[in-house]
């Protein structure tokens, strides 16, 4: 009979990290290029009306919420281990966990609020 793993939260955190990694790898290169470089620099035309219709659509907002949530948890998980391994501050792990995962939770709620009240 299998006993439950000693830290049952780890699989969930890793799944969120993986989902965020996949989502950001697939979607963000194009989005960064368009939203943060091509549109501001005028390299490509930003049609306000069609952007408005697309981005404010409820399905789009739901998808954006999903992307934001998993990407934030991707950051939280990866950054936590960067602090542990890079700076060797594992003894501060309670503070680090609070900062990282807490930050991801706060960010997710904020994203939900922003996308809900557009």
């Amino acid at each position: 009979m299998a006993k439950p793993p000693k830290r049952p939260i780890e699989p969930l955190l890793w799944l969120l990290f993986s989902a965020g990694g996949m989502a950001s790898a697939m979607l963000m290169p194009a989005l960064v290029f368009l939203f943060a470089l091509a549109f501001p620099l005028g390299w490509l035309p930003a049609n306000y009306e069609s952007l408005r219709v697309l981005l404010l659509h409820p399905v789009t907002r739901l998808v954006l919420f999903g992307i934001c949530m998993v990407s934030l948890f991707h950051w939280a998980h990866r950054f936590k281990y960067t602090l542990y391994d890079g700076l060797q501050v594992q003894h501060l792990n309670e503070m680090i966990n609070l900062f990282c995962y807490g930050g991801a939770v706060v960010g997710t709620i904020a994203a939900g609020y922003v996308l809900l009240t557009l």
Binding site: M1, A2, E10, P11, W14, Y84, D85, Q90
Partner: protein, 255 residues
Amino acid sequence: MADRITMQVTRYRPELESDAAVQEYEVPCPKDWVVLDGLNYVKDQLDGTLSYRWSCRMGVCGSCGMMVNGEPKLTCATFLADYAPGPVKVEPLRNFPVIRDLVVELGDFMRKLVAVKPWIVRKDEKPVSQGEYLQTPDELDEYKQYSMCINCMLCYSACPIYGLDPNFIGPAAIALAQRYNLDSRDEGAAERMEILSQHEGIWGCTFVGECTEVCPKHVDPAGAIQRYKLTAAMDWAKSFVLPKKGAGVREQGAD
């Protein structure tokens, strides 16, 4: 090309000193000599007090692992001439306590290896009269790569996580657990899951990937670990939907 090379060898003699020191030896450097040949020359001709481990000198026993110019290598498989004109630095395998000179303490790994139960675990053993367990080539292919591990510990030297936290179970132990988890004859995946799913088990790994890079047998322990993370995570997720389907199911859904 030079026909001699200087080896800068770490010495640690606890009865004489409290820290490591470097001693230089000049050894011949024929084209076909490996670093181990250089060390044997030192021991035979120059300084018989040098201590180090070696055995098969052909890359299958895993005894002669050391740091050569900062990289974990099997000294029987690393050519001295590749470091010409030298000097070439030879240090004990990193991340392990040093007992003496180039000899490191491997008890930690040995305990971890036993903990992952690296043997076929079955509820019922077939009696000999019923013949062998049959296995197809595809079933062998599932775990064969992980069975190539020679326990040389180069992966532990390359792993910064193990260097930072000696409680981390480490690449070779997890790869060997996978070798049995993925073996069609084995039924012990659930038993191994408990030790592997601790924080110092698979979840401590951040996929640096250096363990796979230095492995002389191409075992790919990093791949074994990431696969197991996926298996364990899927298992965990399934346990909410299908509570009976417990932990440690083999990847192909053996039940």
